[in-house]
């Protein structure tokens, strides 16, 4: 079933998912598309099998125990030796036999997943915000070369190092199809690696309760062919395009007059606020508001006018723009490819 058939145009939340139509489970640990998630899924299935077996065994024994006397119309208790053997077999040998191989394979998978990355692996720094994700691309010296939000592009087939930070509360970075979660702890930098085997769009979501809008703090992780990724990153490095038409120039001015620049940065202009997402290339993104609504002009207009309707509690204040002002502002933002 194609998820794109379910685009909603009404209601506070639109659909971010049309971009996810490519995969069956857009956010599922059981549909791995990366090496770490695949290893964990491979641990899961035999574990589930053993768990079902143990459950059935215990319940079968219980059933026999309970109904034995009833069938025979007389009490048929176990003698002390039989009881002892039952307890040793079921209470000691069975748990050991089930947990030791499980613990050992879990250690070995943990080692593989956490193996150090090659030094030249690409590094992305993700900072958890309330309630969105700031994404910085770092060069080999560790300098930030591009900044975006709520949409992380990586080259498919290569391990990518993620530096996870927070300057506010604890968040947790999680893309179930690719990798287990790692918390973003204030005052620390946690490291994880993500490898996407194939190009695709995967959804990630904050997994540590972080306040009012924890529910709508998601992002897209876009794995691309390396050449496409390089082109994308090159584009993101550039400052914003200058207004080309008069309407766009008026929108550019409107951006400052409406106070947007107080919180948002557009590289190449004097807008350098750092409370909200970097908007330098906003038009190139697929979603808005933490992967809550698709980035279409209607949703963008709704989001600017009344963010509290789309995402109650969001730190984005509502704006009082006339329809004309809004239109020029949208025109400008739409040009920021």
């Amino acid at each position: 079933m194609s998820l794109s058939k379910h685009i909603r145009t009404t209601g506070p939340l639109g659909a971010a998912a049309p971009f996810l139509a490519a995969c069956e489970g857009p956010q599922s640990a059981l549909d791995p598309a990366g090496s770490a998630a695949a290893l964990i899924a491979r641990l899961w299935w035999p574990t589930l099998f053993v768990a079902i077996l143990v459950t059935l065994l215990v319940l079968a024994l219980l059933t026999v125990a309970v109904f034995r006397a009833h069938r025979r119309h007389a009490a048929l208790p176990l003698n002390a030796r039989q009881s002892r053997n039952l307890v040793i077999a079921g209470g000691i040998i069975l748990p050991l036999a089930a947990t030791i191989p499980f613990a050992l394979s879990s250690f070995s998978i943990g080692r593989t997943i956490n193996a150090p990355l090659p030094d030249d692996a690409m590094t992305v720094e993700v900072v958890g915000k309330q309630w969105w994700w700031e994404v910085h691309y770092l060069d080999e010296a560790g300098n930030r070369i591009a900044t975006t939000a709520n949409e992380i592009h990586i080259p498919a087939g290569e391990p990518v190092r993620f530096l996870l930070k927070s300057d506010n509360v604890i968040h947790s970075f999680w893309v179930p199809n690719l990798q287990g979660k790692t918390d973003m702890m204030p005052g620390r930098t946690n490291v994880t690696s993500v490898t996407a085997d194939e190009p695709g769009v995967y959804r990630g979501q904050c997994a540590e309760y972080c306040g009012t809008q924890h529910a709508l703090m998601a992002f897209l992780l876009v794995a691309e062919e390396p050449e496409r990724f390089d082109a994308w990153l090159e584009g993101q490095r550039q400052p914003a395009t200058m207004p080309e038409t008069q309407a766009q120039a008026r929108g550019h001015d409107e951006f400052f007059e409406a106070g947007c620049a107080g919180c948002h940065t557009i590289r190449g202009t004097s807008a350098s606020g750092d409370l909200g997402p970097d908007l330098t290339h906003i038009a190139s993104r697929r979603t808005l508001a933490g992967a809550t609504v698709p980035n279409r002009i209607g949703h963008l207009g709704g989001w600017i006018t009344d963010p509290q309707h789309v995402k109650p509690g969001s730190r984005m204040p509502p704006s009082e723009l006339t329809p004309e002002e809004l239109k020029t502002l949208l025109g400008y933002l739409e040009s920021l490819e």
Binding site: L13, A17, T47, L86, I100, G110, P186, A207, H214
Partner: protein, 636 residues
């Protein structure tokens, strides 16, 4: 005093005058004012149980509202603010205000009866603990009515719960009330430990103690070692919030991880504090309804003790995703898997005991059999999440929500309801309806599984916990709807028991002293027991005293206790040899006044630190009154 003292204190005749003396000595005053002076353990225990079940009902309603909000994608029933308050309150109330107090309540009520004594070691402290709990619960729920309830989750992680990110009074109320009611948990624990070790009936050596008493003892020791960690952590947080200490503030050199270590060092044992008494209830019920001695008494006791110890070495498995070093965390994987052994030993001891027995399938037994099915599943998912890599996928998802509801509802609430049916005739003197009990069980059992089983799948499909809504395209709608329907069935199941209980108080069939044919001492008392519990303190010669008496048609009792003051027998810790007589204090208003004074400090400090000083002196004053020596006793 108008009645004469008995002419010969060693007289054991059950003369009506003797009994009237006992009744007068142990009597709890009537009237509204009198109510606040009660100290008898059964009064306090009953209040703990009833209050805890009221909180269970309220938190259950919050749970249903949470389920209704999640029944479909993008629902508008509760907004994020309300939803976040509701899930925080649901978790906090269930863990702190229901689960621990209800287990303590049953222990306070039944441990003295099961060990054959007339009250607990410190009756006034007992009363104090109850009022602290009651006031704490009322204040916490009051905050919800004023719409300023805490909303940072039941484990209240910093920095989200710091002043900067939770500026309102909600988290202040959470931290102060949690600290406050843990005082109540500690008083009950100390009380239970001393009572169990020093007040057992003569002859009840440790190896003859009923398994529920063992469980309550282990629970109490766990409380004594675990609660200080949460008291410390919440006190540090209060200080951070009120006087700007910097224990958890990164910018001031503090460390958010410290909160997690302290909280889970308490929080993991907490789960077993709830589970362990339930295990004791299961053993108790199995013994009675198979009508034969349990197999593996020693193994069962050692398993419970082992669980108590190991539970203190597991806390880091709540922190596998925080970025701690892998090797260190692996230790906690191994330790967590170890729990499977004592749990397995217990399960198979019970199976061995049930094997081929003529089981009486009364309602308590049904809830115990339901426990097996649910707890085994919850235990196995528990082993799964002990794996670090697997946990990184399911941690903080609905898989985990499913897991801990399987363990807590299946492991603790099902046995608890079973125990409620089992002990109900003892507490009220009336039987509950068996037919309604069976309906209640089947509705709850089916409803429970329909609610929580699909959550495993939801978690694996990537649904995080604590989200107030989800977009339709995630495809989580159907299973969530199923879970919501299940939760309504589950609530109906519990509702049937509630109605059954209320009905039984007025219309239930009168209960005999020992309606189930059980072997432990609480069934030797009347139903409900007289204010002095036992007309004569019994002497015990085995683990199954009532079965002995039935067989031998004779019983030994202690004589020589005075009737004109509250006297109980003290015995030695290991062998329960009588070593002395303890005089217990009479009813008084002061524990209540003292609790009110202490709560003034705890609540007031939210608004101004001066209240701490005021309450300090007020409490000191009430303690002087509380411990004021009494003239008639001084002359004894």
């Amino acid at each position: 005093m108008t009645l004469e003292k008995p002419a010969n204190p060693r007289d054991v005749t059950d003369s009506p005058e003797e009994t009237a003396w006992l009744e007068r000595t142990w009597h709890s005053p009537g009237g509204l004012l009198g109510w606040f002076t009660h100290v008898n353990q059964r009064m306090i225990g009953k209040r703990f149980i009833i209050t805890a079940f009221i909180f269970f009902l309220l938190a259950g309603i919050l749970g249903i509202l949470i389920r209704l909000q999640l029944a479909g994608p993008e629902q508008q029933l509760l907004g994020p603010e309300l939803y976040n308050q509701f899930f925080t309150m649901h978790g906090t109330v269930m863990m702190f205000f229901f689960a621990i107090p209800v287990m303590e309540g049953f222990a306070i009520y039944f441990v003295p009866l099961m060990i054959g004594t007339r009250d607990m070691a410190f009756p006034r402290l007992n009363a104090f603990g109850y009022y602290v709990y009651l006031i704490g619960g009322i204040v916490l729920f009051g905050s919800l009515l004023l719409s300023m309830a805490p909303n940072a989750g039941w484990f209240n992680y910093v920095p989200l719960s710091s002043k900067l990110y939770s500026p309102g009074y909600g988290v202040d109320i959470w931290t102060t009330m949690i600290t406050f009611i843990e005082v109540s948990a500690l008083t009950a624990a100390v009380e239970l430990i001393v009572t169990t070790l020093r007040m057992r009936a003569p002859g009840m050596s440790l190896n003859r103690m009923p398994l529920f008493v063992w469980a309550a003892l282990v629970m109490s020791f766990m409380i004594v070692f675990a609660m200080p960690a949460v008291i410390v952590s919440s006190t540090l947080l209060i200080l951070d919030r009120l006087v700007e200490t910097q224990f958890f503030i990164v910018e001031g050199g503090g460390e958010p991880l410290l909160w997690q270590h302290l909280f889970w060092y308490f929080g993991h044992p907490e789960v077993y504090i709830i589970l362990v008494p339930a295990l004791g209830m299961i053993s108790t019920i199995i013994i009675t309804f198979t009508r034969r001695p349990i197999y593996g008494y020693t193994a069962l006791v050692l398993s419970v003790v082992a669980i108590g110890f190991v539970s203190f070495g597991l806390w880091v498995h709540h922190m596998f995703t925080t970025g701690l070093p892998q090797l260190g965390m692996s230790f906690f994987t191994a330790a967590s898997a170890t729990i499977a052994i004592p749990s397995g030993v217990q399960i198979f001891c019970w199976i061995a005991s049930l094997w081929g027995a003529k089981i009486r399938f009364a309602t308590p037994m049904l809830w115990v059999l339901g426990f097996f099915a649910i707890f085994v599943i919850g235990g196995l998912t528990g082993v799964m999440v002990a794996s670090i890599p697997f946990d990184t996928q399911v941690h903080d998802t609905f898989f985990l929500v499913a897991h801990f509801h399987y363990v807590l509802i299946g492991g603790a609430v099902f046995p608890l309801i079973g125990a409620t049916y089992y002990w109900w005739p003892k507490i009220t003197g009336r039987m509950m309806s068996e037919a309604a009990g069976k309906w209640s069980f089947w509705l709850a059992f089916i409803g429970f599984n329909v609610t929580f089983f699909p959550m495993h799948q939801l978690g694996l499909e990537g649904m995080p916990r604590r989200i107030y809504t989800y977009v339709e395209e995630m495809g989580w709608g159907d299973l969530n709807l199923l879970a919501t329907i299940g939760s309504l069935v589950l609530a109906t199941g519990f509702g049937v028991t509630l109605i059954n209980a209320i009905w039984s108080v007025f219309r239930g069939q009168r209960a005999e002293p020992n309606p189930w044919g059980a072997p432990t001492l609480e069934w030797a008392a009347d139903s409900p027991p007289a204010s002095y519990n036992f007309r004569h303190i019994p002497v015990v010669h085995s683990r199954w005293p009532l079965w002995d008496w039935e067989r031998d048609r004779e019983r030994a009792v202690v004589t020589g206790l005075r009737n004109d003051r509250r006297e109980v027998v003290l015995t030695s810790i290991l062998d329960a040899k009588p070593v002395g007589v303890q005089v217990l204090p009479a009813p008084t208003i002061w524990p209540f006044v003292s609790a009110v004074a202490a709560s003034l400090g705890f609540i007031g400090i939210i608004f101004h630190p001066i209240f701490f000083a005021i309450a300090f002196f007020l409490v000191a004053f009430t303690l002087v009154a509380w411990f004021w020596p009494r003239r008639p006793w001084r002359n004894d």
